[in-house]
């Protein structure tokens, strides 16, 4: 599904990632963990096209997508969420989700200006689908609220709704549980499973170990920018190198 081959990333003299390779299987939840500074977020930024890696290749669905910008990756079915929640704060919850359907619609500037019948039908469709995804994540009652006024936890849900509206093949979530309380984290876990069960591959970067061990089918561990281990949650929990890396940190 997603093959990472020999990714290296240097910023000036600092090496953030060194020759990291692994593969993510379709229809699984894969967790990427590691102590602070392990390079998890950097790896996410490279996969999602926000950074350009120094070297290495990314294969998505059998095609080389290295260096493609995020908007191209979106068209191919890859989407991500952000650690600090990047919402369109001046727009409503509904409108945010409707932007998620951008790649699922094609009216150009002129048909939008002229409001052609095709454009009207498409707009109707966008609205219905967006509502569906708001219901999917349980925030449909907030549809008309301005996104900037949402509570943090609801903002997370909106970000996921917006990402799911793309109907992606793979969704990358950057610390989705950060800032959530216990109840919200529980809801998040079941939402993540629901997403996987609908046939979407999920990749998480996460600090919340309970969540990772609970939902992930397999886990990749990074340490100091290098591949350290991969395996099932049980294997990782028993892996001496992983334990040493975490103990070494704190």
């Amino acid at each position: 599904m997603l093959e990472i081959q020999g990714i290296t990333q240097r910023f000036g003299g600092v090496t953030a990632l060194e020759d990291v390779s692994f593969s993510i299987r379709a229809n699984e939840i894969t967790g990427v963990i590691g102590p602070n500074g392990a390079g998890k977020t950097t790896l996410f930024n490279i996969i999602s096209g926000i950074y350009r890696q120094t070297s290495g290749t990314i294969i998505f669905n059998g095609k080389d997508v290295s260096g493609l910008p995020p908007e191209q990756l979106a068209l191919r079915g890859m989407v991500r969420t952000f650690q600090n929640v990047e919402l369109f704060t001046q727009m409503t919850v509904m409108e945010n989700t409707m932007v998620g359907l951008h790649t699922r619609s094609r009216s150009g500037i002129f048909s939008c200006m002229l409001k052609t019948p095709g454009n009207r039908a498409e707009e109707q469709h966008i609205r219905e689908r967006a509502l569906h995804w708001l219901e999917y994540t349980g925030i449909a009652d907030l549809a008309d609220m301005q996104a900037g006024n949402l509570a943090f936890g609801k903002g997370r849900m909106l970000e996921i709704a917006r990402a799911m509206a793309l109907e992606p093949r793979i969704i990358l979530m950057d610390e989705p549980a950060a800032g959530l309380n216990n109840r919200e984290t529980g809801e998040l876990a079941s939402l993540i499973r629901k997403i996987r069960d609908s046939g979407v591959t999920v990749v998480l970067v996460e600090h919340d170990m309970d969540l990772v061990m609970d939902v992930c089918d397999s886990i990749l561990v990074l340490n100091l920018g290098r591949w350290l281990a991969e395996g099932t949650p049980r294997e990782i929990q028993e892996n001496q190198a992983v334990i040493a890396a975490y103990l070494g940190e704190g």
Binding site: P69, P70, R80, E86, Q90
Partner: protein, 321 residues
């Protein structure tokens, strides 16, 4: 949706009856300018308010449209309507090509680059004397006409210009309420998130810059044909700033706000005729005060003000009662 239609129809009615109210007096002439400025402000707002990309060179595209129309009709004897279309197409091509490098820039640098563009165009209007007539201007530009019906007085021009203005307002309203409008606003709020959602931010910014330039060019053509005379002074940096002021005062990302801004800023100098030279000071103050205290512009600021007052009044939903 119903409310949107109602608002627009109300605007159409107001525009239609105004000449009857003013009985074709001097104010008709001013209202023609209000129409032209409204087109320009709406065009700029698509770029500035919705996509969040500033342009300090809008007057340049306005002037380019006016001069292309003027030169094509006077020197080459081309039909005014055809000339208008050629001008808009040419300006669109220029904006599209220059848009790619320009809109790669952000914030202050974008402001400076567009300002530079505007000034280069202004210099060309002044210096290409053989075709533009230089600082003394270009005269004898024919009025527009349809089937022999010539738009040669203020009332006729009023209806002509306002038909065009209303059309542009309608098309812009449609645009901003569509997927393209949402994509533009998403770029404004978070470009990186917009791109992750599949919005081709770079291309879309250039497209909207081009559209904005085309509308400005059309406004320029209308201006040239209603005035019959154009000179570079109308298309300088000050006018670009005036347009930005209209958009800011009315309210970023509000089409009706731009209309309001254009109305106010066009009428203001007329009302302040007695203190002619104060207008520049007032623009300056308005820009500073609005940005500081009412960044949403009048369309957002006035309702906010009233709800503030209502909360303070005894008997309202007061929290200090």
């Amino acid at each position: 949706m119903k409310r949107e239609i109602f608002k627009f129809l109300a605007l159409v009615v107001i525009v239609a009856v105004l000449p009857a109210v003013f009985k074709g007096g001097y104010l008709m002439n001013v209202l023609v300018f209000v129409g032209i400025n409204s087109m320009l402000a709406v065009a700029l707002n698509l770029l500035l308010g919705y996509a969040g990309q500033i342009s300090l060179g809008q007057a340049g595209f306005f002037g380019l449209g006016a001069y292309l129309s003027g030169v094509l009709t006077t020197t080459y004897g081309i039909d005014p309507w055809l000339g208008m279309i050629i001008a808009a197409a040419a300006v669109g091509c220029i904006a599209f090509l220059i848009g790619f490098p320009v809109l790669k820039l952000k914030g202050h640098y974008l402001a400076m680059a567009t300002l530079g563009l505007g000034i280069i165009m202004y210099i060309v209007f002044n210096e290409a004397v053989s075709s533009t007539g230089g600082p003394s201007g270009l005269s004898g530009i024919p009025n527009l006409s349809v089937q022999g019906y010539v738009f040669d007085n203020d009332v006729k021009n009023y209806y002509l210009i306002w038909c065009a203005t209303l059309l542009i307002i309608l098309l812009s309203l449609n645009l901003v309420h569509s997927r393209i409008g949402r994509a533009l606003r998403s770029i404004h709020d978070s470009e990186v998130a917009a791109r992750v959602m599949g919005v081709n931010a770079r291309l879309l910014k250039v497209q909207i810059f081009t559209l904005s330039a085309c509308i400005s060019s059309l406004a320029g053509s209308f201006y040239a044909h209603t005035m019959s005379f154009i000179a570079p002074a109308s298309f300088g940096f000050n006018f670009s700033v005036e347009l930005v002021t209209m958009v800011i005062i009315g309210g970023l990302a509000s089409i009706y706000g731009s209309l309001l801004g254009a109305v106010l800023l066009t009428l203001l100098p007329e009302l302040l005729r007695a203190f002619q030279d104060y207008d520049i000071i007032i623009y300056g103050l308005l820009l500073i005060v609005m940005t500081m205290f009412m960044p949403g512009g009048l369309v957002k600021g006035i309702p906010a003000f009233f709800s503030f007052v209502r909360r303070r009044l005894p008997g309202g939903t007061a929290n200090n009662a």
